[in-house]
Amino acid sequence: MSAPIDMPKWADTFLVPAISVAAAFLIAGLVVLSIGENPLTATRYLLQGSLGTGEGLGFTLFYATDFIFVGLAVAVAYHAGLFNIGGEGQATLAGLGIALALNNLTFLPGFLLIPIGIIAAAAFGAAWAAVPGYLQAKRGSHIVITTIMFNWLASVLIVYLLVNVLREPQSMNPETRAFPEGSYIPFMHEMFAAFGIDIPSSQLNLTFVLALISAYLIWLLIYRSRLGYAIRVVGSNPMAAIYAGISPARITIIAMVLSGALAGGLAVNELMGYQHRLLLEFTSGYGFVGIAVALMGRAHPVGIILASLLFGILYQGGAELAFEQPNITRDMVVVIGGIIILFAGALDGLFRRLVAQLLSRPKLAGA
């Protein structure tokens, strides 16, 4: 059992995740069945709602944008051997950064406001991740516990600020006033309309392109750069890293800063791309979905994009499904996310052994 599991690379990269995801859907189907609904009908509504119409597809890609960012955030930390469950908190702080920057710099033109907002999001997210990173690197406090605590600190902080400080005086809702209009990231349907192409309108905005660019840059960083190599060495063997002259403490902090900045992308998409104001709980637990996305995508940018599309389909299709079949609420997606984390993450060894056994059987018969 303890011998390294031997199997072809294609099986390890594609077959194992595919099987664990298939198993997750099987169990989700059983849950649907057990509450007295038909899983096949549910699947049809789900796919119809997420991919069947142009509008649905737009929403699917909008959600996928969120998940690409948080998935990349988890993955970068993961490569450095760190488990960042603080995506929620980091994205929340990034939202605060956006609101502070945009609503205090209203006099600037749009082409300056948009990059400033994005930079503010990245900086605030990075700062909120840097503290747990520093504490792990220099004081030995466990990153998992500190990032959990920082999630709760962020949620308490944002409630305080939105209720007491940032709220519009005449408004009853704990939310800021709308951002200056120039800072809105253009919707895709507006962009296409400018070129005379008509696509159905949805929340999908240009942040989607930014997410794809980020995924490419992270791929370059992790697999093609000196820093990425250092990150991976620290992640797989910190002792070897020290002998190679790499400082694990430094890499830990850098990886967390990058991770927090990426988590900020969630705030950019949700707030600058769609809500156009800072409001409570805009992260909606997506930070935790990022863990499922990163595990499913094997912490590789291509895998993360594919996993994000799947979760985008689940979220958008799930909303339509809840409309058609009120018994299957959107919490179903949370359940599926949980099962995927369990199967592709915690029970990974089980599935890999299963696949390895299946693949090695014919060979044994031949010999």
Binding site: H142, L157, V334, G337
Partner: protein
């Protein structure tokens, strides 16, 4: 502030600290055996749901408790299977447990009762009534668990072996004692405590289940566990302290103090998290977890 208010605050502090204490003891048992458990929140949540649903169906709070414990132990065993038998990542498994619990309770609750995930309100025998000084039996069960945990952990053969498994499983294995067996029993005991804590929330403190009603208590319990440095009596102290902070925050809500203005309740709510971060950073004292916590045991190594 007169005496009456102080009594009220202490009374509600006790009430609020009970679920924390139950979850904290659950974490203590699990982590002392070397299994890190960030799924306390999820286990309390499934227990709260199962207990409320069963108490409603069977008309008895005690049957609710049995179901609550059963549900929580079942989730604990999933965590145990992943982290002990399959040697998977314990943190990842804990995150999965929390998500599964949040999603499943909401979905099933909504499908069964159609009230946005709530269970029907409980009344009469369906709830735990005041047994002594206005507190229900569960309060005393949880309080009694503190000396019991202290005694078993510190004075019995089982407890000493369990702690040894959390520090140096190879040594325990060499002595011919099953590491797997000890860790599974710790996970089951943890499940029982989370079950009691969750049941207390929905059937003792409140009258029914609300979606996500644990509201982060599992994580405060985790903080309290670190604060207590993984020991039973300090766990009681830490949980009561965090309960007290919660009670004081409730009491001060909207109160206006001359010179300061309205009390920022959020500042008090942030204290448990903040204190834990500071403690972990080693600025005041040092919190050192069991040495083998979070490390799957591999016999052949």
């Amino acid at each position: 502030m007169d005496f009456g208010i102080i009594v009220t605050i202490f009374d509600s502090a006790l009430r609020l600290s009970i679920p924390l204490l139950a979850a904290c003891l659950a974490g203590l048992w699990s982590e002392r055996s070397g299994v890190v458990d960030i799924g306390l929140e999820g286990k309390m949540l499934v227990a709260a749901f199962a207990a409320a649903a069963a108490a409603y169906v069977f008309g008895s709070a005690w049957i609710g408790l049995v179901f609550g414990i059963f549900a929580s132990v079942a989730f604990g065993l999933i965590h145990g299977f992943a982290s002990i038998s399959q040697r998977g990542n314990q943190i990842v498994s804990g995150v999965a447990i929390n998500m599964l619990a949040a999603g499943l309770t909401a979905i099933v609750g909504n499908a069964w009762y159609g009230q946005g995930g709530r269970t029907p309100p409980l009344e009469g025998d369906q709830r735990f009534d005041g047994l002594f000084l206005g507190h229900s039996a569960l309060v005393y069960v949880v309080l009694l668990a503190v000396p019991l945990t202290w005694f078993i952990m510190g004075r019995t053969r089982f407890g000493l072996r369990l702690r040894a498994v959390g520090e140096n499983p190879a040594a325990v294995d060499t002595a011919g004692i099953s590491v797997t067996g000890l860790r599974y029993s710790a996970v089951v005991i943890g499940g029982i405590f989370c079950g009691i804590g969750g049941t207390y929330l929905s059937v003792g403190q409140a009258a029914g289940f609300l979606p996500n009603m644990t509201a982060g208590r599992g994580f405060i319990a985790l903080a309290a566990l670190i604060f207590a440095k993984w020991r039973a009596w300090p766990a009681l102290g830490a949980c009561f302290l965090f309960g007290l902070l919660d009670a004081v925050a409730n009491q001060l809500q909207g109160l206006f103090i001359p010179g300061i203005g309205e009390v920022p309740v959020q500042a008090i709510q942030a204290l448990p998290y903040l204190m834990t971060v500071i403690l972990l950073a080693g600025v005041i004292g040092r919190a050192i977890p069991p040495r083998a916590a979070g490390v799957p045991y591999l016999k052949e190594r």
